[in-house]
Symmetry: C2
């Protein structure tokens, strides 16, 4: 007697429990009830011959094995989501939905008008925007199209280099009127600086070039790039943002022009399989044009 392969529903419930942390919550998320999810997990444990969770009154905590299996279940879920998206409209028609991922600033400041223009031309296409500063995996189809600030490392992806987004030190006019305009890099030490909280690769690069300060110099610390931008706009102090964004707002002043020397290489990426999907392809081309426009204006 061969061990019957477990049904895929079991994996779905298993993943939901991992994500939600309890049978009850998983049940709610899936539109099932707690006992059902409980039995699914039990059944999967029996089928795999391994215990997946240690039960406790405040929820289930996953075992080692459960954590190892999680990735695979996530892949299944991503594929299921991608399938749904692909099925959301006939590939030859321009209808359905497309999922785009980008950094938060780009998603909030740059993309909206571009997407609005696209929407005007193709009103049947719904757009999902997933904003995060961790890069989502296009090979896993976490998204259909990605705007990346790093050269794509994964081969086999369709990528287009859009150009370089210039970064620059900015401050609000109101701030400068009160505190004066920094005349040199060293002068910045006397100002309210806006910067990152945790040190990322970008910041280490900047510091290596001596062009940026450590965490302790910042009067306003936030990892979110939009939060920093908001702080600049609110006149909190001096911070870094994309030159293109600064130029849009007449009250923002670009300081110490050209001294930053650090730019964002910008790429548009998608999965090769999606080239045949009309709506994805159209949005890809549209984004390429719109972003190239934006980048050109920032230079």
């Amino acid at each position: 007697m061969t061990k019957q392969e477990p049904g895929w529903e079991l994996y779905r419930s298993f993943l939901a429990v991992l994500r939600e942390g309890s049978l009850s919550a998983a049940g709610r998320a899936l539109g099932l009830t707690q006992p059902s999810v409980g039995r699914h997990v039990e059944e999967l444990e029996r089928a795999l011959g391994a215990s997946l969770f240690t039960r406790s009154p405040q929820g289930l905590t996953p075992t080692e094995t459960a954590l190892e299996l999680r990735t695979h279940a996530e892949v299944m879920a991503a594929a299921a989501a991608a399938l749904l998206r692909a099925a959301s409209g006939p590939a030859d028609e321009v209808a359905g939905s497309v999922r785009v991922t980008a950094s938060v600033v780009v998603g909030v400041e740059v993309l909206p008008p571009i997407l609005t223009a696209f929407r005007r031309d193709h009103p049947k296409v719904a757009i999902e925007l997933s904003l995060s500063n961790e890069t989502e995996d296009l090979l896993r189809r976490d998204a259909d199209i990605a705007v990346r600030m790093v050269r794509p490392t994964q081969g086999a992806l369709v990528a287009r280099h859009l150009g370089v987004i210039a970064l620059g030190l900015h401050a609000h006019r109101s701030y400068l009127e009160t505190h004066g305009t920094p005349a040199s890099w060293d002068d910045l030490a006397n100002h309210s600086l806006i910067g990152f909280d945790t040190e990322t690769a970008v910041i280490r690069t900047l510091r290596a070039r001596g062009r940026y300060f450590g965490r302790e110099h910042f009067a306003f610390r936030a990892d979110s790039d939009v939060a920093q931008l908001a702080a600049i706009r609110a006149g909190f102090g001096v911070g870094i943002c994309q030159v293109g964004l600064g130029r849009r707002d007449p009250d923002l002043v670009h300081l110490l022009l050209g001294t930053l020397g650090f730019d964002l290489d910008t790429w548009l990426v998608m999965h090769p399989d999606l080239k045949s999907s009309r709506r994805v392809r159209l949005l890809y081309d549209h984004l390429a044009l719109g972003l190239a426009d934006y980048i050109r204006n920032g230079q």
Copy 2:
């Protein structure tokens, strides 16, 4: 009322129908009955709002949309299979199963003794060997470890360069006794040649260097490399095989030494996630050693 997300079982049945070509066959493959699978497909069609198959008395033929969705379902299936493999044994113990993919010759001629040695040391690890000349997708976890003859293009994979497998013209002693030994490359035209049926990239490269013949010159044509090797061993004529294999068999003669000038770059590849799996890691290292040994002997 939000449209409820379709259950994963439906995808499973959908894929089975695509693979098997009929509801009945899919039912047999899944251990379900034809009406059940039929209902699954119906339900999925309703949930997606698209027709997936056109019914006919001789089976179901997939629609355009069904073919587009297939990839995603395949990804789900691959992930499910990978999950099962991962769950086949605790990651810290050396037990469970590992799936290795390689070309047919390598799998038939080179790997068996290496795997046998591994088995002796780790008797609890089951080994799945998937032999094919199309490269399986490691990112999709179609296999855990791959022996590749081309440099891996997909970034983010763990790859180790093992060296270069030398190829050479070979013939069986019995053939040479009857038909004489070809003295030069041009002389080959007077011999029974063993070669490929369809033209692959490898062959085009060879022909571009003027070191190989077209399809029409071959007296024995087979796309399978093992079949070619078998033909050489049977004394059918002159063909190409790995020097390391020729050297093992005292009756095989390496002809026109060093004139071929075409080699196989060899790589061992695995998914980075699997580094933490003890059994996969051990087999990876063992294969690296064993294959490097084999390659060294072929030079």
